[in-house]
Assembly symmetry: C2
Homo-oligomer: 501 residues x 2
């Protein structure tokens, strides 16, 4: 496998049988699908908000670059109790994509806002969606120089500046802010609570692998969890996929093998090598594990309930003696073509040749992932930092700082560091989610707590409720609401005692 390279929440290149160059493993472009989703789902849920822009400094931490950019944020005051009642501000820490898409897929925040009389704010992360420095995506992504302000620290400072200004403008200085975030956004929410406690009183950090750095957790956990998600549905399915990489490789090496594979997998163009196909397939398996929700969803792709079960049923359903590649194609079609609308599959990369998460993974967000020899559904692969660094230099002309995130935010021995420091963070994780391997799965203290669900996938708790929600999910959300209520009420109590009320 070469795909140590990944799009955090979304698209990443995963296993491929043979090693290939770094460039070959360049992942697909996030924005393409994110954009589609925002357009297609907005009409369905239609949360009501205003879209606004806030002028941000490009560089909060030096006085050299004084240019600014417009950060988009979505805001709804529909249910806000207002400053006189210290109505809370629910603030979603935008992550690596179009903020409208995250707003649409974070129904939990919208649903609980009325109960709290809360304002809802969804700020977009710099360099994503419409929040582009230098006036356009092309200009923002032009070079390492233009990309150099795309960091988590700058994004957190954006949130801090926006919130401070927003509160001042709404005379809402005394209104408590509660942070929400999923995946990378969940990391930002937790870090924001730790770094800006004067700005937010607590954070719901969902499916946030803040420990997936350096050697804090085993590098194999991500792919091991994907693998076990398949194994638990069907051992034969697991084995079919595990064997398929070799079959693909053998087929690809035959005369006209690549053409044959291209045709068998209904690709729009002929393959240049087998890795293109295995990357495409392994991405599907990893994403399936992330969105293995118990009801139909359309977060990454339109999918049925329990999609891994569906994929495995399809793979297993072919008659005994069927070609292994036919099984694999049938399974992959569940992920890539559940609606049946796709006539051929396009493996093409990001047309711009760059993406924001690529840059982040090549600078701060160095999260080593390996595939184990024994437990993985994917071919074995050991993360190699030297080749990661080399690839980053080739792609961006930048050298990663793999130890910077833990220097800036911690991670090693989190428990000792935070046991008597900090408060009001919920780390929620579902164990089906491959990112849970890098999550905080045990309580740190009385107020920094872990909510772990055995059957949860990637930040399922942040999604809108459905009629098909299992009890454990309803209970998890109730627990989260209860904890947020405690934060808010403790804050009110503190404020009132201070005012002598």
């Amino acid at each position: 496998m070469t795909g140590t390279w990944l799009y955090f929440l979304l698209f990443f290149s995963a296993a491929s049988v043979a090693s290939s160059s770094f460039i070959n493993s360049k992942p697909r472009f996030l924005g393409r699908f994110a954009h589609l989703k925002a357009e297609t789902t907005q009409t369905v849920k239609s949360y009501r908000y205003e879209t606004r822009y806030y002028t941000q400094l490009l560089d909060h931490f030096s006085f050299k670059n004084l240019s600014s950019f417009e950060q988009r944020y979505l805001i709804s005051r529909e249910h806000w109790k207002g400053p006189d009642h210290m109505g809370p501000i629910f603030f979603y820490c935008g992550n690596e994509g179009d903020i409208e898409w995250f707003a649409e897929n974070t129904g939990f925040v919208w649903e609980i806002a009325p109960r709290f009389g809360a304002m809802v704010v969804f700020p977009e992360h710099r360099y994503y969606g419409k929040s582009m420095p230098f006036g356009s995506k092309d200009a923002a992504y032009e070079s390492a120089d233009s990309l150099s302000y795309l960091t988590a620290e700058q994004a957190l400072a954006d949130f801090a500046a926006l919130l401070t200004d927003l509160k001042r403008n709404l005379s809402a200085e005394d209104c408590p802010v509660v942070l929400f975030g999923g995946s990378y956004g969940g990391m930002l929410a937790a870090w924001m609570r730790l770094k800006y406690p004067h700005i937010a009183i607590g954070a719901l950090s969902s499916s946030a692998p803040i420990l997936q750095f350096e050697n804090i957790v085993p590098e194999q956990s991500f792919y091991d969890i994907v693998s076990s998600d398949f194994r638990r549905e069907s051992l034969s399915c697991f084995e079919t996929i595990k064997e398929s990489w070799h079959a693909l490789e053998v087929e690809g090496q035959r005369e006209n093998g690549l053409k044959y594979l291209s045709s068998k997998f209904h690709l729009c163009r002929n393959l240049n090598n087998t890795e293109e196909l295995s990357d495409w397939l392994s991405s599907a398996y990893s994403y399936l594990a992330m969105v293995d929700y118990p009801y139909p969803s359309a977060f990454l792709m339109p999918l049925p309930a329990n999609p891994i079960k569906e994929v495995c049923q399809k793979i297993d359903s072919l008659p005994s003696g069927a070609n292994i590649l036919d099984r694999i194609f049938a399974g992959a079609s569940i992920y890539y073509n559940y609606t049946g609308d796709v006539s051929c599959f396009d493996l093409s990369d990001d047309p711009h040749g760059m993406s924001g998460w690529d840059w982040q993974a090549c600078t701060e967000m160095v999260m080593p992932l390996s595939s184990s020899r024994d437990h993985s559904i994917f071919p074995p692969y050991d993360f190699n930092y030297a080749s990661h660094e080399k690839g980053c230099f080739e792609q961006f002309g930048v050298k990663p700082r793999p130890k910077w995130i833990t220097t800036e935010f911690g991670g090693h021995d989190l428990r000792t560091a935070l046991r008597a420091f900090g408060s009001n963070i919920i780390f929620s994780n579902g164990l089906l989610d491959p990112w849970s391997g890098g999550g905080v799965l045990e309580n740190v203290s009385e107020t920094i707590v872990a909510l772990v669900t055995e059957l949860g996938a990637h930040h399922i708790d942040l999604r809108a409720s459905t009629d098909e929600d299992p009890d454990w999910l309803t209970e998890q959300r109730q627990e989260e609401i209860k904890l947020i209520e405690v934060w808010v009420n403790d804050y009110y109590k503190e404020k009132r005692s201070y005012f002598g009320i």
Copy 2:
């Protein structure tokens, strides 16, 4: 008064009778005296340490400027228990001056290190002493561009990077770090504990006016405290000084008045205007308030015990009917010429025309100070942000961000923000210290505590013990030691329970 402009710990221009231009109130240069002190006092105390350099990134928060510089730090492992015993690391957050000078004047840390088996580290703040980006002070201070990385956030990140690397190199990852700092260094220590809890277990933040921003505390507190320090010694002394500004002004406006004043005050060159002299005098009064220690000291200048008492006795001792300017000169001579070695006084400015704290006050560290009409020994003055901004632009071509510090570090309603967040910070303040007006004077929580001494001056607790220490000072230091012991022992307990020992 025009001197809203100040050198934090040390030299700042203070009151002058008439308003003058921003440039006229440019303060004296820190390095000149700091350098002297380091050379003259080192031989006296002679704490033993090695001097080392660590390669720091110039910009921790973007990936644009990849250049680095050598940060000086002093280190002593003489009493360190070592990694096997988790020997603590005592880390002084270097502030705006030569680190050797701070090391010499922070005897407390050296004195308690053996008791804790602690390593002692004194890192220098970037852009001060020998820790110059771009290879030299001239290059580092050349322009706003070259100065743009002189910020508190970058300095804290320097400390974090240095500590992380140091611990790794010494296999000391499990060794607890305790932060110390006085004045601006005390602010850095407190902020470091809040922002990097995974790196340091606690902070002794001495005389740190972290609330002296925006409108958190009254702008008048600094000069009111200076004033009351004089009033408490002698009402007639207070009144003499209060009246002297007008007398100076009148004298200066006479024919040959400036020449007369220059001669009367034994200046090495003739005055260009009266403000030069009143700035020089008001600086003396403010610094006297800061270093009003109960024993002889030589922190800023060689001074007797209780120097304000001495100054006032001198002022009051002249026979009734003596010229008010003779009284003032006699008083000022205690501050500027206690040794009697000075033949004439040099009012000249920083030869480089810039200094680090000037820049910091023109970017982040906007600490508004005003002089009240009724209680002040100085002429009335209202801080005017517009003229501060104008002056900064004229001097550096930079626009301050007066609200950034509270956005990044908090300050408004500190109590609510930190009551259930953070731990292990001692805010120590002496009420004679004019900076105590911007300090944390009440406990925030059980573990974020305020130690206030009625008769303490600027970070006296951090100084070496002397035979003349009053009981309250000895008790204060005992209390600090006790609290630090609790932090360290709690940490050991936590670590051992984690290891299952």
